[in-house]
Subunit: 755 residues, 2 copies
């Protein structure tokens, strides 16, 4: 058993499986991701390579990450017969994703219709050491022939420009050519005019193979033709580099020069590049790995999600952020949601703070658009869009089409799902708490906190009768209830946003008075205004049952009739799909954590009793099965805290395996990146019970059955700590690079013990 591999030992040809496995076997490096399609093609396959921040316009959805010409194509012909898995006979098949080294490998024993047997082995990676590079090693051995003659082998390697997002094409070929053994294709997005240069080399260890260069606007290629006797083999190496006009360079000349340098470097080019690539992955795992012993399934599942987090985030670019599906598929079009700040960011904040900083800088850069959005609705400050792309304007489609009826269904999230603004502010605050990156807070964070606080203060409506403030007509995280008033998550997070903004302003006045003055002038922070903010924070309406401590998700929620879930025991769809959008609003059933998300995100504001009471109330009325992929793993944290250890483990695994096992049936559209972030949180903040404070951190593990070790590294206050936990130890093992003060573990609940 290898704890680093996803394996597939049979080829399952039905398309739903083919397409979900394309997502699972995605490789990437933060600059680009390439789905796990086969080099030789397959009918109705969905090849896709998406580049970080390379968008093109699309109907209804503003813009989407644009599928670029497919660099992976290698077609193989033997005696004129084409190798493809739907032809000939498949005698042996194995594919694996090596998470540790960011590699996919496939080995196939195939018999052509005429009876020639070939063993075909391929290996592919998107270099983590050189983000512009994709590489394939392709090996063919003749294992059986029909007679004593050598067989004729043709290998057609090309870059295929006939690609689209599903069926929407985004690139036009501008030019293509061949020079110094390099084939190149220069293309451009149709509307956004991003230029992309792709260069390709294709070489083999068989010098007697004839090489031919194919000029073509849509599939320029290099063909290798020759013969192999029984037992002989050919190994080809395909290298492709990609540069775009977003890289701040002239793409074509830069790509050609870079590729040429790679070729000149040495003889064992592929091996050398692979080595550098593996070295880069080694460094990543040193920082980010979670070691679980005693539970192989959990170990692989968790690592797979960490792998997804890494390949979908740029190591240096702050002009774009991580999309709902990253770059692994066309779902949600590469748009950025609150998924990033609430679900994904904690991983980066604790494990890769440089990337976390860039993700927050992305939001900072888009303050202007957020201010414009607030203004357009008649408010002050900055209101972030529900869906964000490059320019920060609202990218939520105003409506979607019903897949069957073609009916237009208005989408309200862009207009009234407000809480993302507070979630972004929270992520900034949390980043600061964990990293103590004062420079970031001074230069960027404070302005963002103040601007978003200003939005909330202007958005809250004073109620003269009760003297408090309300926020009406919103959608909370539970998106099944629209046009609600005083959603608990929204109001509480808005209050927190204002509070931390005021707190941070005080800090800035002390530490950087000049910057504080500048901001005060720029944002017109009069005494009167700040005191109004304070008033809003003090008096915003928070609905809570005084006796039970249960928060009311929104005004009137407690009075909705409960849905008799027993009536739907055999359902295979969400309650929304079954009951319809309108009817569903009338019931006390929710899509995903709302109140419970609040208790998780602001965990240190609530006591055990409150958490327990709310868990008991909300957990049973949440559609855990079909509501959303976002929260199962996140629920693990609260489940651990309130002693629901069986639930905690079940929810964790539901998150960890969501894509590997296609649990939600939509992995074909891309990996669930928010869920991947939630898996990290579930293990570290939930199972391990990690909490930080000024002095250091505490852990409070609850051990799932069989787990014998749980270890990971965090960055805290600029220092690295390796936390190595084993059951039945009074104190956690500490082996940090620079040791930090570790207080004795404090059990915050009596109930914590093994599940």
């Amino acid at each position: 058993m290898n704890h680093w591999r996803i394996n597939e030992d049979t080829f399952e040809p039905h398309l739903k499986r083919v397409h979900s496995q394309e997502t699972v076997y995605t490789i990437g490096n933060g600059y680009f991701c390439t789905r796990g399609t086969f080099e030789e093609g397959y009918p109705k396959a969905g090849p896709a390579t998406l580049l970080y921040g390379v968008f093109d316009a699309a109907p209804l959805v503003k813009e989407e990450l644009a599928n670029v010409p497919d660099w992976t194509v290698i077609q193989l012909f033997v005696n004129g017969e084409r190798f493809r898995l739907d032809r000939g006979m498949l005698l042996d098949y194995h594919r694996s994703l090596d998470i540790q080294h960011g590699l996919i490998r496939r080995s196939v024993l195939w018999e052509s219709p005429q009876g020639v047997r070939l063993r075909i082995t391929s290996e592919r990676f998107a270099s983590l050491a050189d983000e512009h590079l994709g590489a394939i090693r392709y090996n063919v051995i003749v294992e059986g022939a029909t007679d004593s003659h050598p067989v004729e082998i043709v290998l057609r390697s090309s870059i295929n420009a006939a690609q689209g997002n599903y069926n929407l094409m985004h690139f036009n070929t501008l030019d293509q050519g061949y020079q110094d053994d390099l084939l190149w294709l220069l293309s451009e997005t149709k509307k956004s005019n991003v230029q992309l240069a792709q260069t390709m080399s294709f070489t083999s260890d068989r010098i007697h193979f004839h090489k031919e260069v194919i000029a073509s606007d849509i599939a320029p290629g290099i063909h290798l033709c020759g013969t192999l006797a029984l037992g002989e083999s050919i190994t080809c190496e395909k290298l492709v580099t990609m540069y775009t006009s977003r890289d701040g360079v002239e793409p074509l000349s830069t790509a050609l020069q870079h590729h040429q340098e790679l070729l000149n470097d040495r003889s064992q080019i592929y091996d050398h590049l692979l080595e550098q690539h593996q070295e880069a992955w080694y460094h990543f795992w040193q920082q980010a790995d979670i070691i679980i012993e005693g539970d192989e399934k959990a170990q692989i599942g968790v690592r797979y999600n960490l792998y997804q987090l890494r390949i979908n985030a740029s190591s240096h670019d702050s002009r774009y952020s991580i999309a709902a599906k990253g770059m692994t598929g066309f779902g949600y079009r590469g748009h950025v949601f609150h998924d990033t700040e609430i679900f994904v960011l904690p991983f980066f904040t604790y494990a890769q703070p440089d990337i976390a900083r860039n993700l927050l800088l992305y939001r900072y850069h888009l303050l202007k658009a957020a201010r414009k959005k607030a203004e357009s609705f008649g408010y002050e400050g900055a209101q972030y869009p529900w869906e964000s792309t490059l320019d920060g304007e609202e990218a939520t489609p105003p409506a979607i089409l019903h897949a069957e009826t073609g009916e237009i269904i208005p989408v309200l999230n862009g207009t009234i799902e407000l809480h993302i603004t507070a979630s972004i502010a929270h992520a900034v605050w949390k980043y600061w708490q964990v990293t103590s990156d004062d420079a970031f807070m001074r230069d960027y964070g404070t302005e963002l906190l103040l601007s978003t606080a200003m939005f909330w203060a202007s958005r809250a409506e004073k109620q003269p009768d009760r003297g408090d403030y309300t926020i009406s007509d919103v959608i909370g995280p539970d998106e099944w209830h629209e046009h609600v008033n005083n959603n608990i998550y929204t109001n509480y997070m808005a209050r927190k946003n204002i509070q931390v903004a005021l707190q941070t302003l005080e800090w800035l006045k002390t530490t950087s008075p000049e910057k504080a003055r500048k901001l005060a002038t720029q944002l017109n922070l009069t005494e009167q205004r700040l005191s109004h903010w304070q008033d809003v924070a003090n008096s915003i309406r928070i609905l809570q049952d005084a006796q039970t401590g249960v928060f009311e998700q929104f005004e009137g929620f407690f009075h909705l009739p409960e849905l008799d879930q027993a009536m739907y025991a055999g359902r295979r769809d969400s309650y929304q799909a079954i009951l319809g959008i309108e009817a569903l609003q009338k019931y006390r059933i929710i899509k995903q954590a709302d109140t419970l998300m609040l208790l998780t995100v602001l965990e240190d504001e609530f006591d055990f009793k409150t958490k327990k009471a709310n868990w008991d109330y909300y957990y049973p009325i949440t559609d855990h099965d079909f509501g959303s992929s976002l929260t199962p793993a996140l629920h693990t944290i609260l489940a651990s805290e309130v002693g629901q250890f069986n639930a905690a483990y079940r929810l964790l695994m539901k998150g960890a395996l969501v894509d590997i096992e296609d649990l939600r049936g939509n992995t074909s559209e891309g990996a669930h990146i928010a869920c991947a972030g939630a898996v990290w949180q579930a293990v570290v903040l939930g199972i391990a019970g990690l909490r930080i404070n000024k002095a250091g951190y505490t852990t409070n593990p609850c051990w799932p059955k069989g787990w014998t070790r749980l270890a990971f590294t965090i960055q805290h206050n600029g220092k690295s700590a390796f936390i190595d936990l084993r059951p039945n130890m009074e104190v956690t093992n500490i082996d940090s690079i620079e040791k930090v003060e570790v207080p004795v573990e404090v059990s915050r609940s009596n109930a914590r013990r093994r599940a």
Copy 2:
């Protein structure tokens, strides 16, 4: 001066012009049309081949004619340099569309960057004799070289599957191959699963040229490579056949067999196929030509429109009809509007009645869907969709997106623009009047008339106060006023629909009593029901000023303030674009003929005085410049009748040249097919003043300046009549194949004379 040619003697490289000329130089045969893109390609060119009735799903618009893999590609390389009009030097350029023979020809003298001069001549047709066949002859002569060495010529002929409608791809490659000198590609639409087989042969007169077959899923091809000395030439012939699964055959084997038979037929294949093709066009022109002497511009313009009508209509298929842009571009997505029945059908009814019959059968086949539509709105009978595709369900998009803002704009036409149902009934009636095709009327027409009459009778609301019937909340042909009551065109045409239905039922009772009984049972035509219909027809509200005879376009129209058009003298856009949809509704300004269309369509129901009064009232308040392409040419008929001869000629030419001169700036999206039909009507029913009656026909020409002859053929009562008019002749010349009784021409207005 050739009266059959559209010419272009310089290449104008700006894209708007390139794309509109692609439309103008479209070839076709009713089975497919292919836009006039260049064989060698051009940056951002818009190649398209659309097939009659081959649709695939598309967002918002239900489905659209799906652009098939481009069969025209021939790339030419000389000494490795690629021929394209944006490279090297263009020394001479000429392109022509030979309307008479359905051919485009291009001749180019081009100098490569290295200085090799080539004369490249190509000729292309979509065979009218064999609708599955497209053919290209491609000739290259070396006219200048840089030294005494022969130049290396490579010709890459392929079928390019990387096509979309704009950027929406519709076809997946299923398979491709090569056998017996034929390359083939089998593809399938992504959603509607229509299979398309394309076969290709590519041969030359240079046997020393090396031939290479390129296997590729997206651009399979045949390459010819060799050398030519100065003064030498090569001539290639590319033949492509196309069959789809809609043809009722196994597409691939049928295509291969058909193509093989063509090749086996004889040696001079291309010449032979061209000859058959020209023969078919000759037969068409014998039936359909309009000869105009003394006005070359009008002659060519009118013929060009007849050419468009022919290439966009199938000669035999009644499962689809003629789209707003035919198969010449992506505009209006191949959807069928009332354009067909009101604008286009008269040409076919008079000149090609077999095709007219099929176009009406298309509507008859879709009665079921029309009944469903009526029922869904709570009405009886059959209500036709505003936009129709293959299944007859409403295909009008429920909303469109604003091109700049992305805002969703609801489209009401599918819900409340009702008059198309009466227009279809009228076309059936008119077809019967002209052709006397009693069998059609018995088997199909009567049922359609009764079903649509039933719709109107149930749709009309009885007003107890005035005792009449109204039709409220509609859009009339003037689409700039929505939610109007008692639109004159709608109400009058609805009445006519009921009247002819009752009349036809009486006829059927006499001529086919059994069929009449069956229909009566099937449609539940009780005495009570029929008497209600009669009541509606008698008492439907028709708004007309008793004194002036001017009809009121809808209730309240007379009271709207007039728009001061002088204030917009310099405008370059429609009033709708300038004022906005909402504001425009409040003014007495209209998009296109509404009342005047009624007076044209039902011309024999109104006297001269009424026509004149309404012309004087409505003509000045119509946006002739930017409102619509539909009516300028149609206005010619009324203009001729009321003695507005200058206007008549101006309007005719505006219609005749709409695409050749891209008068509306949107020819790039496809030819204006309704306008083409209107041009035929303008000349025959307007300028010539043709009217038919039981006994025969009359003409009443008004002669535009310079015209010395106007001649055309009509089919009437199953007989053909050649009508040859010259000015200053008391009686028209008759030279009909089977002579019909021709009464002496009667002048219906005193004012008819030369303009």
